[in-house]
Symmetry: C2
Subunit: 121 residues, 2 copies
DNA sequence: TATCAATATGCATACGATGGTATATGCGGT
DNA sequence: ACCGCATATACCATCGTATGCATATTGATA
């Protein structure tokens, strides 16, 4: 994959937020939607975009599609993801996303352990 | 400056090449044109773009405009520039650019030391 | 001041990415 | 077989950004 494609992917805030979330583990589309407060189509399209680039992998779990960072990591990507939370000013958004993620996982565990497992959180 | 703007800047191959060249020291527009094999308008506009972003600074030297990486480096940018030459496959382009740069400097030194100095190469 | 070289800018156009709506697919449960 | 939920896709409008051409600006030199 060429460098320019990677940077093109990174130059959208929502894609960055998604990658940042997936860095902590797989998530299904509906949970991404909830955390990001975004609509289904948008999230779905961006995931497809990143899947075609080879940045993320998708796996079906019952009716959910679970997305994760691709197994064969791209060093350039990995390095850039590392520093998202430390980014001056903007790091807040990324840190908050990860907090929301934790809350979500807790809630799912309490309400329906099975579903939490199914969704790989 | 926000992350997205930085990545937007990085997602153009020619801008990357320019930044890579400036990492080794200042250059004027005509030398950039020569090394990149690009036309004046394009180079000039991309430099302006990067100047407005705060990535590069410009200084007039007689009739030449000499561009350099901005004094107050942006960490995210610095880190990304570091690995350009090592990028799988594509690193070649960036390495070749730096070679061309060296040849250019040599030639200028031989032909006209004064001009070489004026152009800060 | 006329002129040339180096560089910048304005404007029109084209292209690619993005967003929205509607619709399709795939799976589980009844 | 049907329905509902989760997700994907097609299609179209839109908008940002790059590109090309023409022209303006700036500094040096005669």
């Amino acid at each position: 994959m060429d460098i320019v494609s990677i940077y093109k992917c990174l130059c959208d805030r929502q894609r960055l937020r998604i990658l940042n979330l997936l860095k902590d583990g797989p998530l299904c589309v509906c949970h991404l939607m909830e955390i990001l407060g975004a609509d289904q189509v948008k999230v779905s399209k961006q995931l497809r975009y990143m899947k075609e680039l080879g940045m993320v992998d998708a796996e079906r779990q019952a009716q959910w599609m679970v997305y994760r960072l691709a197994d064969d990591q791209i060093p350039l990507l990995t390095e850039n993801l590392k520093c998202l939370q430390d980014c001056a000013g903007e790091g807040v958004v990324f840190r908050k996303d990860l907090q929301k993620r934790k809350q979500l996982v807790k809630r799912l565990d309490a309400a329906s352990p099975l579903r939490a497992i199914a969704c790989h959180c």
